[in-house]
């Protein structure tokens, strides 16, 4: 039967009325329905369509009128109310633009520096070339790209200072942004180059789970080490990471390469300024040489990289970024040594251990006269050793002898870093910091007069409840220009990082002469900041970039002219007129 619902003074525009009609007429049990404002002409229309009731007589043009042929008018009213209450269209804007042409992609993201391509292989090389035309680096996820195309793309990219990662490159991480199939790994100081997607994933996730982090992971595609390609992308990746300030350790992962190519890659390793952990899957690891460590399993690779990464601590970079003393030390080429004078035996042992690892020294089990480490002019001495405490109180109680050693070290122009512990608590000297602060301050002044500088680093072992009060000791040392760290390990790592940075730069300078001068400007720009991506293909990849703080525009790619080869050829030729 016909039911009439009149909503007084509820104006709806014609679009709403039509939407409402669609919505209500789709309901089960609604035979026919008419939804209109009660204007005279609308009433005529309702008469014409046989949906007129006498109740409409009273409706004014400002009343919403519904006439429905239905058995369940209550449900119709309920739906009507729902619809009117939810008028606001569900307009969910995506965070990135979707485009259909290269031109618009560039229009939307003029600063793009990477094309991430995941379309069918037969079209991938053509699109990758279009990306290179636009000076974009390329991450080529697509497979089924011929090796001839791969070579052409990589050579062309190299000429332009760009990098082509892939084809068949499954994973990458650029400035913390996962590209294609990748895991979310904390940002850190380990850079990875790999010709194996799952290899990269296994190594980076082990690094991540063990508290390390990854600066970048650059995939090369599995064929990069084939003889025809000659490791073009691998070498670019290694060089880019070597120049990257965020990266302290470089990991290289590959399947067994052609022997000639392997040789070429190892030669590149040697020219790098940073330690390299390399795994050629299936090859028995060789002896370590130069700055190169070889691993046998992916796990070994990750753990070795972690170990190296912890000794070269990027936080050192921030501490020392604008350190005036360091700049002075740099000028003095002989000033490259650490002097560590300890009153805590185990602390001295820990410092020695960390430095041995950082400088790749063979650990020495014998420690004559508390000499925990001696390498060149580096030394770490436990002044609490029996050799020094005969006829003298322990240095925790009587600092006199340690003060002497410190003065010597400060006066020595080869000393770059002075490393100290300060163990407080009941029984210990009541103000060790108060003793050393003036000594160091005076030493700094004297050194400055001679145009020198040195860096003093210390840790305080104690708590706020100790009689000497932890923070008071820290404050006194800091006031004297000492860098105070949270732990002895951190103090030592910082000392190692300083020496590394001093030597590293020199090493890099000399190695750079050896390296072929390749233009990697645009590839380096790519990793200097979060990537700005034109994603050609799978939308999931765009979402990932977006979620991880990269900028992205989605290029909804389709074959030119819907795959009509003739029309595509016409378009190609017309564009070349």
């Amino acid at each position: 039967m016909l039911h009439t619902v009149i909503k007084k003074n509820l104006y709806q525009d014609s679009v709403s009325l039509m939407l409402l009609t669609n919505h209500l007429s789709a309901m089960d049990g609604v035979e026919r329905i008419s939804v209109m404002m009660g204007t005279p002409s609308n009433k005529d229309i309702m008469k014409g369509s046989g949906l007129y009731t006498d109740e409409l007589e009273a409706a004014s043009p400002n009343d919403l009128c519904v006439v429905a042929e239905t058995e369940d008018v209550d449900r119709v009213i309920e739906e009507l109310e729902d619809f009117l209450n939810n008028q606001s269209a569900a307009s969910e804007a995506t965070a990135y633009s979707t485009v259909r042409t290269w031109e618009m992609a560039e229009n939307k993201l003029p600063s793009a520096d990477l094309a991430l391509i995941s379309i069918a292989g037969e079209h991938a090389a053509a699109e990758a070339n279009k990306a290179l035309d636009r000076d974009l680096n390329v991450f080529l996820f697509s497979d089924n790209v011929s090796i001839e195309d791969e070579l052409q793309l990589k050579q062309r990219a190299a000429e332009k200072g760009l990098m082509v990662m892939g084809p068949d490159c499954g994973t990458g991480i650029l400035s913390g942004v996962p590209i294609a199939f990748a895991n979310v790994i904390e940002k850190g100081n380990i850079g990875v180059v790999g010709a194996s997607g799952t290899g990269i994933q296994e190594v980076t996730t082990i690094i991540g789970r063990n508290g390390g982090g990854v600066s970048h992971a650059i995939g090369t595609g599995g064929r990069d080490l084939a003889l025809e390609i000659g490791a073009l992308t691998t070498i670019q990746g290694l060089r880019v990471l070597d120049a990257d300030p965020e990266t302290d350790v470089i990991v290289y992962i590959s399947k067994p390469p052609a022997p000639e190519v392997r040789e070429k890659v190892v030669e590149v390793f040697k020219t790098l300024s940073k330690p390299v952990v390399s795994i050629f899957m299936g090859d028995k690891p060789k002896e370590q040489h130069d700055n190169v460590h070889y691993a046998w399993t992916l796990e070994d690779t990750a753990l070795k990289a972690l170990e190296l990464a912890q000794t070269s601590n990027t936080s050192a970079d921030s501490i020392l970024a604008d350190n005036e003393d360091l700049k002075k030390i740099k000028e003095n080429k002989d000033q490259r040594f650490i002097k560590g004078y300890y009153c805590g035996g185990t602390l001295a042992l820990e410092a020695a251990m960390i430095l041995e690892d950082a400088f790749n020294l063979d650990p020495d089990a014998a420690h004559p006269e508390g000499m925990m480490l001696q390498h060149g002019e580096h030394e770490v001495i436990d002044l609490g050793d029996d050799a020094y405490t005969q006829g003298r109180a322990h240095p925790m109680i009587d600092p006199t002898f340690r003060v002497e050693k410190v003065k010597e070290a400060i006066a020595n122009p080869k000393t770059a870093v002075l490393l100290l512990d300060n163990v407080i608590g009941y029984g210990a000297h009541d103000d060790m910091a108060g003793v050393f602060a003036p000594v160091i301050e005076k030493g700094k002044k004297e050194a400055a007069e001679q145009g020198r500088a040195f860096i003093a680093i210390a840790s305080v072992t104690g708590t706020a409840q100790d009689p000497q009060v932890y923070q008071d000791q820290v404050d006194k040392l800091e006031a004297a220009g000492v860098i105070v760290t949270e732990s002895n390990a951190q103090a030592t790592k910082l000392a190692a990082a300083i020496i590394d940075s001093l030597e590293g730069e020199e090493a890099a300078e000399t190695k750079a002469e050896k390296a072929e001068a390749a233009d990697l400007t645009k590839a380096s720009e790519l990793i200097s900041d979060k990537p700005r991506v034109i994603n050609v293909g799978l939308t999931g990849f765009a979402d990932t970039v977006q979620e991880n703080g990269g900028q992205v525009v989605q290029y909804q790619w389709a074959p030119i002219a819907g795959g009509d080869k003739r029309l595509a050829a016409i378009l190609e030729k017309l564009s070349k007129l």
């Binding site: 679009v15 939804v35 369509s49 606001s88 804007a93 633009s97 259909r100 042409t101 050829a569 378009l571």
Partner: protein
């Protein structure tokens, strides 16, 4: 070739569009400016067609026009006359005219005269009758014929007397630029432009010397008609696009029109020929009691607005009507205009759209981009009932068939000696 590349030619084509200066000069009987209408002749929308191929509502309009012109006294008489080929059919586009829906225009119907002062090209379009049972949707009952007579006797002359008082005519660009910031896209929605038109014309209507009764009728008619400006926009777009078409090079669309059977496009480098393909049926929303089952295939010259870059191309300008393009709300409108921008070569900064971050409307549909991407222009349109006389039953969008562009591209390849 006069230009180095097609791209360069296209720049010249759109230069004509941005440099245009359309003015509404007058409203006159169609026969006074279109000599072809003297005699038993009718203009229709879209590429040339014949009686048999006209959809029912267009045939209905022809019957209405025959009754209005007094060629026949009854519907049956008119029908017979038309079937016997006693009436000449002319594609409006071929005589500098355009007409909405059926586009049927006869000798004594008033038309607006818009001149692009940059080129002195003039274009004509009949006057908008309002909505409901109207001739352009194929209705021809007494009410329709009476209204046409009133438009001929009262509305046309009143507007003519008013416009002639405006020195140089009414500047359409200024009006359009204002209205686009007020939420019009000029095909589906013309409320703001119609209101601005009324605001401008009223002082001159008052001084035009017409009777108080006529003044009351004319102002009421204009005030009640949300779409009155559409026909002015169409004539404007025609005068502009015909100017662009004077360039004999390039790959820019200069006309989009449909006759209920074929969709036709014209292209700057390909002269006056139509490239046609069978029309699509609109997707849209229907008035209560109707559905797509009842819809007439696509017809009308109003798509000249899309060729110019407004209408569906400028969906984003008109939040009020975005739900015609989908249920995604405003975001769908943004996506629609973004998509349309993919097949155009520039933005028209004379028509900045606030809701599009002040980007100018789409400018210059390039057939090469259409074929390359498969994105076809989206046309906002009214939907006519397939049975003549019923009138409008809804509104929505329709796409230009891709075939038109593929054919045009083949012709372009031939023109430029490209062999594949």
């Amino acid at each position: 070739m006069q230009y180095k590349t097609i791209d360069e030619a296209n720049q010249a084509v759109i230069q004509h569009i941005t440099a245009s200066e359309p003015f509404l000069l007058d409203v006159v009987p169609a026969k006074s400016v279109i000599s072809e209408l003297n005699g038993k002749a009718l203009l229709h929308s879209g590429p040339p067609t014949v009686w048999e191929k006209m959809p029912h509502p267009m045939q209905g309009s022809c019957i209405g026009a025959a009754l209005f012109e007094g060629w026949a006294a009854t519907e049956e008489e008119a029908q017979k006359m038309l079937e016997n080929g006693e009436v000449t059919f002319i594609s409006a586009h071929s005589v500098s005219a355009v007409g909405p829906m059926g586009g049927i225009t006869s000798a004594n119907m008033p038309v607006v005269v818009v001149e692009n002062k940059a080129s002195e090209k003039r274009a004509y379009c009949n006057l908008n009758e309002g909505i409901g049972a109207v001739l352009r949707f194929g209705a021809y009952n007494e009410e329709v014929i009476n209204r046409l007579n009133w438009m001929k006797d009262v509305l046309g002359p009143a507007l003519s007397k008013s416009l002639k008082q405006i020195d140089g005519g009414m500047n359409v660009n200024v009006l359009v630029a204002k209205a686009i910031t007020m939420g019009d896209e000029f095909h589906q929605r013309n409320i703001a432009a119609s209101a601005l038109f009324l605001r401008q014309i009223v002082p001159y209507l008052i001084t035009s010397g017409i009777s108080e009764k006529e003044l009351q009728e004319v102002t009421k008619f204009l005030a009640d008609n949300d779409q009155f400006f559409l026909n002015i926009m169409m004539a404007t777009a025609k005068s502009v696009m015909d100017t662009a078409a004077t360039e004999t090079e390039g790959s820019i669309v200069t006309a989009l029109a449909r006759n209920g059977d074929q969709f036709g496009i014209k292209v700057s480098g390909l002269g006056d020929q139509w490239f046609t393909a069978p029309v699509n049926t609109p997707d849209g929303l229907y008035f209560s009691g109707y559905s797509s089952e009842d819809a007439t295939p696509d017809m009308g010259d109003s798509a000249i607005t899309e060729a110019y870059g407004v209408g569906g191309m400028a969906m984003v300008a008109a939040p009020g009507v975005v739900r015609f393009v989908g249920t995604g709300g405003f975001n769908d409108a943004v996506n629609t205009s973004d998509e349309m921008r993919e097949i155009c070569i520039a933005n028209n900064n004379n028509l900045q759209i606030p809701t599009w971050d002040f980007q100018g409307a789409c400018l210059g549909i390039d057939i090469r981009k259409v074929v390359e991407t498969g994105i076809t222009p989206v046309i906002n349109t009214g939907i006519a009932h397939k049975v003549a006389g019923t009138g409008q039953i809804g509104a929505g969008t329709v796409r230009v068939p891709l075939g038109c562009f593929e054919k045009a591209l083949e012709a372009l390849a031939e023109k430029y000696g490209v062999e594949v």
